[in-house]
Subunit: 259 residues, 2 copies
DNA sequence: GCCGGCGATATTGCATTCAAAATGTCAGAA
DNA sequence: TTCTGACATTTTGAATGCAATATCGCCGGC
């Protein structure tokens, strides 16, 4: 799950107006969102690390976020950690309960439904914009990723398949050349990352093959720069993932009824 | 709608006697995400008030955010104010410069272009979803607002027209019954609110009439619950606003070249 | 006259402190 | 036993303190 980490992290990289710091061949360019976070301020670093820590599932759903313990773990005082928590709350990663601290936000079926719809909308928009802006090189890059992914599919390498998949989607969103869109995409995909993964992971393989076919037609539309078509394929593709994720969630609940 | 927010807010009032601050009745904004903000915690209250304060233009573009002064104004210490600033930074309202505090984020032409595209995408999604979910009563409500707006248009009451306009758009997004979408919509429209207003305000009236016609067809599509059609109208409508806003921005720059 | 260094001041980022609230413990009554 | 309520402990939310950094004003050199 390396990429996943990285993407959310890169999103918060500073715009670093310091030119001497040649940021040469960094894969996705940092959007120009809030300038500070990254490595400059403790707050920024803690924000990224804590987000990863939670998103990757180190804290159970609904668990309280142990401030003092995390402070020790990160080696900082409570101030920057609490600042990070406020931001994570605004991102929907945690809930803040008055006088009772932060808890890891539990996504119920409705939340997941909403988030997938939202991400589907963002990807649809991205597909439309990307077809107006994407370069031949970028298309070639997507094709390369697609090819890799196909290999992982054939070898049934779930983990790498998932990574390549994420990368393709993000690449398309990035190709839209809209940093606000990309930032929103990263934020919201972070929220459903775990779900999405397990949705792919634990599914019967038939959905997997279906997803591959959908990706084929995505690539086809992208090559022809058929914006509306690509937009529609992406939207449907996400909605199919949504269905799989929700089904998966239901199964999980059935198996482990105590949430 | 957010009674909880308001009531707790009123309770707090005696604490912060700030006359300078226009705490007018603003469009409701209470994404369901994080639970705390609102009125329970100082942080939550300050977050909302500071956001309004900035979005409403009380600080100039690019101006530094005077921590100490705002603390006095709100009657709180620096801690909750700084927490709020981190959140506003993650929303793109301010930039955080390492060791140099927060500055009001200046939107350049490209930012505005991106934000309008993003909001257009969100509204397009909302239109699609809303047609699946909207009730007759909600449609009637939109019609009522539309009628009001038409009255303001005829009377050339720019301010109220603008308010009704915003309300219509938000109503449609709300009708999509997707709180994540609504929250994202609120966040991103907040960022362009000033621009959007002046775009309408200072424009020649021809665009105004055009906008009214577009709203007519929106309403028509909504009545027929023609999701894709509404989606497209909204997208185009926003892109027209975008063009107007950018033109407006260019004019402003020409008139006041030092930004 | 303008530019660049230098010290004084103000501001920032983070740690620490403190009061209020929640949580846990346990004795005693029903 | 199980419930209740007082008390001690922990945790939270916000204020304050403090070192590091930036900003401002002044001066001399060119």
């Amino acid at each position: 799950m390396d990429f996943a980490r990285k993407s959310a992290y890169l999103l918060r990289m500073p715009l670093a107006p310091t030119p001497n710091e040649a940021e040469a061949s960094r894969a996705p360019r940092a959007p120009k969102g809030a300038l500070a976070p990254g490595g400059v301020s403790l707050h920024g670093e803690i924000l990224g690390r804590l987000r990863d820590y939670i998103v990757e599932g180190n804290l159970a759903d609904g668990a309280r976020v142990p401030e003092r313990q995390l402070c020790e773990m990160f080696g900082v005082s409570r101030t920057p950690l609490r600042e990070a928590l406020k931001v994570l709350a605004s991102e929907g990663i945690v809930d803040l309960l008055p006088n009772r601290g932060a808890r890891v936000r539990t996504l119920n079926e409705r939340d997941i439904h909403e988030l997938f719809d939202l991400v589907a909308g963002l990807e649809a928009l991205a597909g439309r914009l990307a077809c107006e802006a994407i370069s031949d090189d970028e298309i070639a890059e997507v094709e390369r990723l697609h090819h890799d992914m196909y290999g992982f599919y054939l070898r049934r390498d779930m983990h790498r398949y998932f990574e390549a998949n994420q990368l393709i989607h993000r690449q398309i969103v990035a190709a839209a050349r809209n940093s606000a869109l990309l930032a929103a995409y990263d934020t919201h995909t972070a929220r459903i990352r775990r779900i999405r993964y397990t949705a792919n992971l634990a599914r019967k393989y038939d959905r997997w093959g279906e997803a591959m076919r959908e990706h084929e037609s995505m690539l086809d539309a992208l090559r022809r720069r058929a914006g509306l078509e690509l937009s529609d394929i992406l939207f449907q593709h996400l909605r199919n993932k949504q269905a799989a994720a929700i089904e998966q969630l239901a199964d999980g609940h059935a198996a482990r009824p105590h949430g």
